[in-house]
């Protein structure tokens, strides 16, 4: 094969007429008086949005309205309604979500029974169904559209700007919003060197966790004198509590494909892989269909966009191994092997897939690329901080009033995210209670904990690194004061222990031992040596593991120990769990006011710790009790509870 990639761009004759496609899409769109967008992200589908879509389609058709569900460019007749599905709109918690345009109305928690009223009032009449609007949880005020809702108003949605608006299966709409202009610019107006230089100037850092500069990675791959190169989109979003990559792949797959196409131009890759977690069946489906649409349009395949570059994309489903998020492990997995990392150097950009130079970029990173190329690095750098330019998406979950997918500039503070966008903390009873704030876990099983003292730290790669946390993939799990930090430390250690690939002894065995020690604490078997031993093991595992999984596995434990040492010590020395979450450390007692003395509990107790006269209140002997909880289950009068005084 000839070195087509670095040759001069072809004459403008081959340039695809994106403006023409955009114009015909807009003309077709203009023939519909209204558009209803129903969220078809994983969250809203779980709440029944697909059934809602079909029901609405039937309802409007039965009313004799002209409705279409896919734009027909040829059909020039007037339509009353264009009905489409979108990817995740972010506010999963109040789904199914429905947006009405051009009225800019957002309806939440829409049920099939609401449809007749929506059709009558909004679609026919142009009015608003007040009761379906989102209500501010504090003021109770009804909010008309996304612009008025604090959850959305506090954000700066760029990567996510089209997610939740566009029809992910409609290439025309992506183009109408300026899509593929950047790819065309990269193919026709810029040389590979210029694309790499622009990326380096933008300061874009990888969103997968480590924050490595994307432009440098591309430049390194570009310089490799091999004819065969690869680009991989890493969509193996394994961090529990993170779902931004899923949302981008589901909601705007073409932005990722365009990013890969620009990457192919920059590095000379001929084949791309999108590696998606198999837990995300909808993302797999949407990416597959977007790749097919792009191929049909001539944006992938031989001579993409009429240029001399050959580039095609394959979609591969992961098979359930967290470690495959590591670049060299992912490469091994794509080649059909066990996903185990290998020592570096050489980096995958030098020697990766099939021994050839391979660039591995995260989904969100690639989705940022088209904007950078189109608008330029200088424009991009206007957002974010000096060393962490741009925006970052976060999955905001846990004990927070508004959960969902958000995007803010780097440098935004945790306070803005949790209290302004997130709407504050939910207490034990599930009601708003900002006093109940305990911590935010960031960066998943590689990250750390942030507490009240970190609320005003700017969130960027370097500031978070300084306080022992990391941006990671961007999962933010908010925890209230009912959360036991020893249990959380155990949760993450259990995760990494389970996902350790087994190649390095310190990671494989070390995580197992740390987990066993944490179990000792939870079961009340720990002594004075336990915490120092955990710390020593953590340092050893971090220092002597090959890849990022092992190197960062101790981070959550160390971070929690640092922030919540008294809580750990209460478990170890006082044999008590302050939050009452560790059964073995939580006393069980009988409420004499509720106990009728039936004796069921005494009969169920395996150690004979319960005594009492018939029809008199019983009592538990704490010296004998093993806290198994059998009596709590047996009592029909709810007289026995854990943690009771």
């Amino acid at each position: 094969m000839s070195e087509t990639v670095t040759s001069a761009p072809r004459a403008p004759a081959g340039r695809p007429d994106l403006e023409g496609i955009a114009a015909s899409w807009k003309a077709a769109r203009g023939r519909a008086a209204r558009r209803v967008v129903i969220c078809a992200g994983t969250g809203c589908i779980a709440n029944g949005s697909l059934g809602l879509f079909e029901a609405l389609r039937e309802r409007v058709a039965a009313e004799g309205l002209a409705v279409e569900v896919a734009l027909d460019y040829e059909d020039s007749s007037h339509k009353d309604l264009l009905l489409t599905k979108s990817g995740c709109q972010g506010f999963c918690q109040v789904g199914p979500l429905m947006v009405v345009e051009p009225d800019q109305i957002l309806y939440v928690k829409v049920r099939a029974s609401d449809l007749p009223e929506i059709v009558e009032t909004t679609i026919k009449g142009g009015g608003i169904v007040e009761r379906l609007l989102y209500r501010d949880p504090v003021s109770g005020e009804a909010k008309r559209g996304k612009g008025e809702i604090a959850f959305y108003a506090g954000q700066d949605r760029r990567v996510l700007s089209a997610c939740g608006l566009v029809d992910p299966e409609d290439l025309g709409e992506y183009i109408a919003r300026g899509g593929y202009l950047a790819a065309r610019k990269a193919l026709y107006d810029l040389s590979p060197e210029e694309v790499c230089a622009e990326m380096q100037a933008s300061g874009l850092r990888g969103r997968g966790g480590a924050g490595f500069p994307t432009g440098r990675k591309w430049e390194l791959a570009r310089r490799q004198a091999e004819a065969e190169k690869y680009i991989i989109c890493n969509g193996d979003e394994g961090d529990p509590g993170a779902f931004m990559d899923r949302s981008v792949l589901e909601g705007n797959p073409h932005s990722v494909i365009e990013g890969m196409l620009i990457g192919a131009r920059a590095t000379g890759a001929r084949v791309g892989y999108v590696y998606v977690r198999a837990e995300y069946p909808l993302a797999v489906k949407r990416v597959r269909s977007a790749v097919e649409a792009a191929r049909a349009a001539g944006f992938l395949g031989k001579g993409v966009m009429g240029s001399g570059l050959d580039f095609d994309i394959r979609v591969m489903e992961g098979a359930g191994a967290f470690v495959c998020g590591e670049a060299s492990a992912m490469v091994a997995s794509i080649m059909g092997g066990r996903g185990m990392p290998r020592p570096k150097p050489p980096r995958t950009a030098e020697r990766g897939l099939f021994g050839k130079p391979t660039v591995v970029n995260n989904v969100e990173t690639l989705a940022q690329v088209p904007t950078i190329i189109l608008e330029g690095a200088a424009e991009y750098r206007k957002t974010g901080t000096e060393l962490s330019p741009g925006t970052k998406t976060y999955a905001l979950t846990g004990h927070v009033a508004n959960t969902g997918l958000i995007e803010v500039p780097f440098g935004a503070t945790l306070r803005e995210i949790v209290f302004d966008i997130g709407g504050g903390i939910l207490g034990r009873d599930g009601r708003p209670d900002d006093e109940a704030f305990k911590a935010v876990q960031i960066g998943g099983p590689s990250g750390g904990c942030l507490t009240a003292e970190h609320l005003d730290v700017p969130m960027d790669f370097d500031s978070l690194g300084e306080i022992g946390a990391m941006v990671g993939s961007g999962g933010l799990v908010v925890m209230n004061d009912s959360t036991c930090m020893v249990q959380m430390a155990r949760f993450f250690m259990h995760f990494t222990q389970n996902e350790s690939c087994g190649k390095c002894v310190p990671c494989r065995e070390g995580t197992r031992q740390i987990l066993a020690l944490l179990d000792d604490i939870i079961e009340g078997k720990a002594d004075e040596s336990t915490l120092p031993l955990i710390e020593e093991l953590c340092v050893n595992v971090a220092d002597s593991s090959l890849c990022g999984l092992g190197a960062s596995a101790p981070s959550p434990v160390l971070s929690m120990l640092r922030q919540f040492r008294p809580e750990f010590e209460a478990h170890v020395r006082g044999k008590a769990c302050p939050t009452g979450q560790c059964p073995a450390l939580t006393p069980i007692a009988i409420d004499p006011a509720k106990c009728i003395g039936c004796g069921m509990c005494a009969r169920s107790c395996p150690v004979g710790a319960i005594s009492g006269e018939r029809k008199q209140a019983h009592r538990i002997d704490p010296a004998k009790c093993v806290k198994c909880g059998a009596c709590v289950e047996k009592c029909k009068f709810n007289a026995i509870a854990r943690g009771a005084k």
Binding site: T42, G43, I45, A46, N47, F91, C92, Q93, E237, G238, D239, P240, G241, A242, F243, R246, R277, A278, E279, Y280, P281, M316, E317, G318, A319, G320, A321, F322, S333, I334, M335, G336, G337, R338, G339, F354, A395, T397, G398, H399, T403, G404, L405, Q441, G444, G475, V477, M479, T483, M488, F491, F492, F495, E499, C501
Partner: protein
């Protein structure tokens, strides 16, 4: 009624067409095993050996890959695979009690994941990416968000009733 020989032949027919679909390309072992598992609902040992020979790989290599990845199962799974998410968000919102309630409902003890009648398999998974609806449970492809132990048990009972109504599952 087909003879045993006939059904054995049919059993291998499916894997043959899968191998053809992936052009017997050994670097595509993972998609091949995924297709096999979709067809047979698990990875039967004799099929794994067959795949190894067909791809010119050692059975040990194929077995190594099959046991490395969490999605592959060497044991038959139930007709309904119930996955309870135990990602961070689901964990802090109470996926533990959810799993306990389901295990009790299905009568699963110790390390058993699949019911004796092969109707249900109960698994916990790391994260399903639907954290906004935590805790989440998935039955085959159907996602149920904001699950409570009571609601989850009700879903299983509904399936049991439906399956029971269709005749004896023996």
């Amino acid at each position: 009624m087909t003879t045993t020989v006939g059904s054995e032949a049919r059993r291998f027919e499916a894997v043959l067409s899968i191998l053809d679909r992936y052009e017997r390309d050994s670097t595509r072992l993972i998609p091949i095993l995924q297709a096999v598992q979709e067809e047979y609902r698990y990875l039967p040992e004799e099929i794994l050996t067959y795949v190894a020979v067909a791809l010119d790989l050692s059975p040990a290599k194929v077995y190594g890959v099959a046991t490395f990845y969490g999605h592959f199962s060497l044991e038959a799974k139930g007709k309904y695979v119930v996955k309870v998410c135990d990602g961070t968000a689901c964990h802090v919102k109470g996926s533990g009690p959810l799993v306990e309630a389901l295990r009790k409902e299905l009568g699963l003890e110790g390390k058993r994941k699949t019911t004796a009648d092969l109707l249900f398999t109960l698994e916990t998974v790391s994260c399903l990416g639907a954290c906004g609806l935590a805790p989440v449970m998935v039955v085959n492809e159907e996602v149920h968000g904001l699950a409570t132990p009571e609601a989850a048990v009700a879903i299983l009972r509904e399936i049991k009733a439906r399956e029971g109504g269709k005749g004896e599952t023996k």
